[in-house]
């Protein structure tokens, strides 16, 4: 049995379903990110896990102990989890020290030990010397660290993070991102992190849980969800993607031959596809496509088209190629000097073409 075992959790608010039977197993010391657009249910899931919400159906167990079920929930304060809130929720009427010491005081820890532990955790998050400050005198990044320190000082087994980086400016966000990752490795605490930022999710997580409309779309490592999306939603949400509609002409052992316009390519079938498919969409990441025909290779497809436009974006060039009336985006290095209107060949490894059910199916 997994460390955190979430089975069939459903929750609705006044007739609006926020979660529709979520299953999830999390191992100890994992860094898991719940990723999805706003309103997808990820925060509801986190707050149910924290004990603030009672599920309508399903159970949550941690280390084999039942914490939540429709019949009742163990109160948040008895779960020994930590939580970092989106707005930090640093108590404005207490100093930094008092904020961090709060949980220890409740745990009736001796005075001397409180001072020691608070000092240690403040050093760990880089807030030495700010103990006496009040939150009003701190920057957003510093408040964020207070919130982190406050939840870490009680040594939780699980730390819940609700969009902790979304209120920081871009530079600080990147720094805190790497600090979070380091912190998680060092402490061995299981992190459950909620975000709508797919880059953040990929940079931080051992595994990503993609949510949409209250249901888990896919669970996998950042590579898996990026390169082998389970469906169009995941493919779209994880980054820029070409979606080429096509028809299956042959299908075998997780692979399919798909007709796209007047041309044919081979593609991997996305996970979880059962039975014979007809109309499919082939998802191809723009950076997986190479401009120009390579030497004939059985592991790569070649599509032919006409270059419509190229845009210089600094680190890359963004090309738009017309393939049988469909626009295909290609993002490659800056060396190409092709004239618009010229005929081009697109080389795409078969492993980077993922065929999945079209949305209308």
């Amino acid at each position: 049995m997994a460390f955190i075992d979430i089975v069939g959790i459903a929750k609705s608010f006044g007739g609006l379903s926020a979660l529709l039977g979520v299953d999830l197993a999390v191992e100890e010391r994992e860094f898991i990110t719940l990723l999805g657009p706003s309103g997808c249910g990820k925060t509801t899931m986190l707050r149910t896990l924290a004990g603030f919400l009672t599920p309508d159906a399903g159970t949550i167990k941690v280390a084999g102990r039942l914490l939540s079920s429709p019949r009742g929930v163990l109160a948040p304060e008895q779960r020994r989890m930590g939580m970092v809130f989106q707005n930090y929720a640093v108590w404005p009427h207490m100093s930094v020290f008092e904020n961090v010491a709060f949980g220890l005081r409740i745990g009736k820890i001796a005075h001397g030990e409180i001072a020691q532990r608070v000092g240690r955790v403040l050093a760990a998050v880089g807030l030495e010397g700010l103990q006496g400050r009040h939150p009003g005198q701190l920057s957003g990044g510093q408040q964020q660290r207070v919130a982190l320190a406050r939840s870490l000082v009680v040594e939780p087994t699980i730390l819940l993070l609700d969009e902790p980086l979304s209120n920081l400016d871009a530079k600080l966000r990147e720094r805190m991102r790497s600090e979070l990752k380091t912190l998680q490795r060092r402490t061995g605490i299981t992190f459950i992190h909620v975000t709508h930022d797919q880059a953040e999710a990929m940079a931080l997580s051992d595994r990503i849980v993609v949510f949409n409309q209250g249901a888990v779309q896919q669970v996998g490592t950042p590579r898996e969800v990026y390169e082998r999306p389970a469906n169009l939603f995941v493919a779209d949400f994880m980054g820029l993607v070409n979606k080429l509609p096509g028809t299956v002409i042959a299908q075998a052992a997780g692979k399919a031959r798909v007709r796209i316009g007047s041309q044919t390519i081979d593609a991997e079938l996305s996970h979880g596809v059962i039975g014979a498919l007809k109309a499919v969409t082939v998802a191809i990441r723009p950076e997986a496509i190479r401009l120009g025909a390579a030497a004939p290779d059985v592991s790569a497809n070649v599509l032919r088209g006409r270059l419509v436009e190229s845009a210089f974006l600094g680190n890359i060039i963004d090309h738009q190629v017309d393939v049988d009336g469909m626009l295909v985006r290609v993002q490659g290095d800056r060396r190409h000097g092709l004239a618009t209107g010229s005929a081009v060949a697109l080389t795409i490894p078969i492993g980077d073409c993922v065929a999945m059910r079209s949305e209308s199916d």
């Binding site: 603030f52 941690v62 009742g72 109160a75 020994r80 707005n87 040594e155």
Partner: protein, 583 residues
């Protein structure tokens, strides 16, 4: 830092405690349930009895009380007088309030701050004290102002008599016009100059802009304010009794008072009359709400509204004269004459050094038994009522803001309901409810406490509600996530953060409870007199100098506490947002 394994987290021993309701639920349920119960007993139960009593229960069941409420000539006269008063006060509030609001909000008239403050002062002066002041100013024979007019113009008698319908309307009008003033003022302040400039760019002249842009935008606020003024005027027992009763002009509140005060008391008829008054109030409030809802379109601009100011040139001076004259009538003159009377040996004697004395203050504060007892009782009652109202109001507000308990809206509504109920009506309900058993408080000071808590609970609830809304729930949740119980999180995080707001809520209840008259007059007995009763009775005895001393003392207490509120909320806005001390 090492991750600790929770105690009892052995995988082999699945705990069953999740199956029981968590501990915090019961603590929460206990505290909040208690508040709900008290609320139901204090507000719901008396209102229920008011309804039952009007149908003749528990003796019988019938509609004869309603019939009598309309057919008995005195009752019908009271209804007509009340409507006339409401109409008069509403119209007066527009005539006084709108020009003043425009002058202070949108013109470059000098001394705008002073005018604004004096309007606030006329709003917070208990209207029965204004009525007393006007007896001294406009009494038919000895009134200062009448004597002045006679000396100036050679009238034989009079010429003005405060003891008349216009007198009542005037005295009440200079109190309630503040509603129209403040609503119009804030509406004018929220019309963005860009709206006017757009009209100007399209060729509209200033007067066209005023007529076609400004007026339609603020019209709902003006109408809404006038309706509030009219509604409030119907409930003001103090001036209706102090000026109306000697003139034998009866209004619904004074009629209800007479119906219960007569022998034998006619409870059913009083209930029916009370319901009639409630119906008028509710109809007015519903209309007012409809008007104010239309007001929302002018606040679209949100914060950072830039308003234009009219440059008046020489016209500033006549406008200032008009404004000063008005606030002189509404605030300066009544307060001034009360102060003057309080320090005069005899108020009818001309002002001179020989006529000055502090004897009346000594009498009022230390000598007169009823007065001294009244002051003590008022302090005790206001303190207790404010404490209880804040406790209940905070619990109701917490339920509304922080929980999703079913029925919390209904509860919130019940806690706000007394705001629309005249004090006289509340008193009748409380009398009917507690004259028979459940709590043996009839004839004790506790019944006054019940009345004050029930009447002013809305002020505490609204204030607590606004306070809690400003405190992000994640602050408490962070406490819970850090291991604090519900109560611990409330006590250590929510309450410290809410303290200034709750203190304001306390004062918002204390101030009107301190000077309450219209419910007290029906509920007090010998020994439980309050300051307002002392004033009322001393006035009946004709001791206007002692009454004035007591009035000045009351106003001083109220002003000091208002200052405290302003200071606590860090702005002068509180002054404008505070409800009036009702008579």
């Amino acid at each position: 830092m090492q991750a600790a394994v929770p105690a009892g987290a052995s995988p082999d021993a699945p705990s069953t405690d999740a199956a029981q309701p968590a501990a915090f639920l019961s603590a929460q349920a206990l505290v909040l349930g208690l508040a709900v119960a008290v609320l139901l007993v204090l507000v719901g139960y008396p209102l229920l009895w008011l309804l039952l009593g009007a149908f003749g229960l528990p003796q019988g069941f019938g509609l004869e009380h309603f019939e009598r409420a309309f057919t008995r000539p005195q009752n019908f006269a009271a209804l007509l007088n009340t409507l006339e008063l409401a109409l008069g006060a509403g119209v007066l509030s527009i005539l006084f309030g709108v020009p003043l609001a425009w002058a202070t909000a949108r013109s470059d008239m000098p001394w705008r701050g002073l005018v604004h403050a004096l309007v606030a002062l006329s709003y917070i002066t208990p209207p029965y004290l204004t009525a007393l002041a006007y007896i001294i100013l406009l009494g038919p024979d000895a009134g200062h102002f009448n004597r002045l007019l006679r000396a100036l113009f050679g009238f034989q008698s009079g010429p003005l008599n405060i003891f008349s319908m216009p007198g009542v309307i005037f005295v009440i009008g200079i109190h309630v016009f503040a509603f129209t003033y403040f609503l119009t003022y804030s509406a004018l302040k929220s019309v963005d100059a860009a709206l006017e400039e757009s009209a100007q760019m399209l060729g509209a002249r200033p007067w066209q802009t005023t007529l076609r842009i400004n007026l339609p935008l603020v019209a709902p606020a003006i109408t809404g304010g006038a309706l509030l003024a009219a509604i409030d005027s119907m409930a003001l027992f103090g001036p209706q009794a102090i000026i109306g009763t000697p003139a034998q002009i009866v209004f619904l509140p004074t009629r209800i008072y007479a119906t219960i005060g007569g022998y034998p008391p006619r409870w059913g008829e009083a209930s029916a009359l009370s319901l009639l008054l409630v119906a008028l109030t509710v109809a007015g409030l519903a209309l007012q709400r409809g008007y104010l809802e239309r007001r929302s379109y002018i606040t679209v601009g949100g914060r950072g509204v830039r308003t234009s100011t009219a440059a008046l040139g020489a016209w500033r001076w006549p406008l200032l004269a008009f404004c000063l004259l008005l606030v002189c009538f509404s605030a300066a003159a009544p307060l001034g004459v009360l102060a003057l009377t309080a320090v005069s040996h005899s108020w009818t004697e001309p002002l001179s050094l020989a006529n000055l004395t502090l004897q009346h203050f000594y009498t009022a504060l230390f000598q007169d038994q009823v007065s001294v007892r009244g002051i003590l009782n008022s302090f005790k009652l206001a303190t207790a009522a404010a404490t209880l109202a804040v406790l209940i109001g905070a619990a109701v507000a917490y339920l509304d803001v922080r929980s999703n308990v079913r029925g919390r809206r209904l509860l919130d509504y019940l806690a706000i309901l007394p705001l629309g109920l005249p004090g006289t009506v509340m008193a009748v309900g409380i009398l009917l409810a507690f004259i028979r058993v459940p709590l043996p408080i009839y004839g004790t000071i506790a019944i006054l406490l019940v009345a004050y808590v029930a009447r002013f609970l809305p002020l505490a609830t609204r204030s607590a509600n606004a306070t809690f809304r400003q405190i992000d729930p994640s602050l408490e949740e962070a406490g819970r996530a850090t291991g604090a119980s519900w109560w611990h999180a409330v006590r250590r995080i929510l309450l410290p953060l809410a303290r200034p707001g709750l203190l304001v809520a306390f004062l918002l209840v204390f101030i009107p409870a301190f000077g309450e008259l219209s419910a007290t007059i029906l509920l007090y007995t010998g020994g439980t007199e309050t300051i307002a009763i002392a004033i009322y009775r001393l006035n009946d005895l004709g001791q206007l100098e002692v009454v004035s001393a007591l009035a000045i003392f009351t106003i001083a207490v109220v002003l000091a506490l208002m200052g405290l509120i302003s200071w606590l909320s860090g702005s002068n806005r509180a002054l404008a947002e505070t409800p009036p001390v009702r008579g």
